[in-house]
């Protein structure tokens, strides 16, 4: 099983959307994948999986509070999201404010999370486990990214993202993560991609995992669904393929 952490320094980079689309694309390569929402402060990826109005029986918070085994938290959403191939599970975080503040106040143990990931891998025979993290640099972020095999840092071509992403990547190097890459998301049409690639390589000294354009049709969906499932031939699929090749290598 490979653990892929998806992170961004700031909110609004399209992290959760990209995470969901990448996870679905990976599953569509006939793989078994899980998506864990470790963004305990502001969980949201479950909305993309059509779980916006439902209260799951168990959440990641319950597992971290030792109220249940992690396999009880995993929801098989393969049929619900009409995945044409492969399998996908979601491990959601609690939306309840009390649950959120409790775990933020009390914290949780790294090895509990790490063991939980291993158990998920065993129980569901996972090929990939995607971690959707909370934006920014904080202890929870370090915990969930530090135990990953690949870290993908998502940023936009926005001045506010450059410094923060650079700091994130330097910290990831200090944590000795095996592999990391940058994804530039929401790129506008008139941008010189060759220059962008050079700037990223020069400033971050990290591989570019992918470049994803801004798509109005994706913005219009507003996270109501996972775009790539119904649009596998869309141009965006080429970008997602590039990212998949990066993590699969």
């Amino acid at each position: 099983m490979k653990i892929i952490a998806i992170h961004s320094f700031r909110g609004g980079t399209g992290k959760s959307n990209l995470c969901a689309n990448l996870a679905a694309f990976t599953a569509m390569q006939d793989k078994t994948v899980a998506v864990v929402d470790t963004d305990i402060q502001s969980p949201g990826i479950h909305v993309l999986f059509g779980y916006g109005n439902k209260n799951p029986k168990y959440t990641l918070n319950d597992y971290l509070n030792k109220k249940c085994d992690i396999d009880k938290v995993a929801i098989d959403l393969t049929k619900k999201i009409k995945l044409p191939k492969g399998k996908i599970f979601l491990i959601p975080s609690a939306m309840d404010a009390n649950e959120i503040t409790k775990i933020l106040r009390e914290g949780y143990e790294v090895d509990l999370l790490s063991n939980g990931f291993d158990e998920l891998g065993e129980e569901f025979n996972l090929d990939y486990l995607f971690i959707d993290t909370h934006p920014g640099l904080n202890e929870e972020t370090f915990l969930s990214t530090a135990i990953s095999d690949v870290l993908l840092v998502i940023m936009r071509l926005d001045e506010q993202d450059w410094v923060g992403s650079a700091v994130t990547l330097e910290i990831a190097k200090k944590l000795e993560l095996p592999k990391m890459g940058v994804i530039l998301n929401k790129i506008l049409p008139d941008i010189d991609l060759k220059k962008v690639r050079n700037d990223v390589s020069k400033n971050f000294k990290v591989d570019i995992a992918g470049l994803v354009n801004y798509y109005e049709e994706l913005a219009k969906i507003g996270s109501k669904e996972i775009f790539i499932i119904d649009n596998p031939e869309h141009e965006m699929a080429n970008s997602i393929q590039e990212i998949y090749n990066f993590i699969a290598d």
């Binding site: 090895d111 291993d118 025979n125 640099l137 700091v167 910290i171």
Partner: protein, 136 residues
């Protein structure tokens, strides 16, 4: 990009208590996983050595070996044949599977090392973790 500003921020984080805490915890986890994987690697090396691995041609899910730059060297002798996938293998079935391979009745066997460790050591990861968490 202001490189001094970046360096300053990185140093500040690196010296923080929470970063050091995470780093030490993660190092412990990695050390356990590395030790575990080396042990499994050795077990499988012996099994394959006895099973005439050259004839059988297993394809191994070598991503289980997530230690950077360190894959067991016997993997380079193994080649993928085809696509019949067996995910959980019980002890007695394993030997008959080897026999099937030898006689050409199976075209590919795909192992996951975590399951193979159960095969050999009969440890239950879930139970072990439950006990570990209980004892905390």
């Amino acid at each position: 990009m202001d490189k001094n500003k970046i360096e300053e921020k990185v140093n500040e984080i690196e010296q923080s208590e929470y970063f050091q805490n995470v780093l030490s915890q993660v190092k412990k986890i990695r050390a356990i996983k590395n030790k575990d994987l080396k042990k499994k690697s050795e077990i499988w090396r012996n099994i394959f050595a006895k099973s005439e691995q050259q004839k059988l041609g297993y394809f191994l899910d070598y991503y289980q070996f997530s230690i950077p730059n360190e894959k067991p060297d016997f993997l380079s002798n193994l080649t993928e044949i085809k696509s019949s996938e067996l995910k959980l293998i019980e002890n007695e079935k394993f030997h008959s599977i080897i026999e099937d391979f030898r006689t050409g009745n199976h075209s590919l066997l795909k192992f996951k090392f975590s399951n193979c460790s159960e095969l050999v050591e009969t440890t239950n990861l879930k139970e072990n973790n439950k006990l570990k968490n209980k004892n905390k």
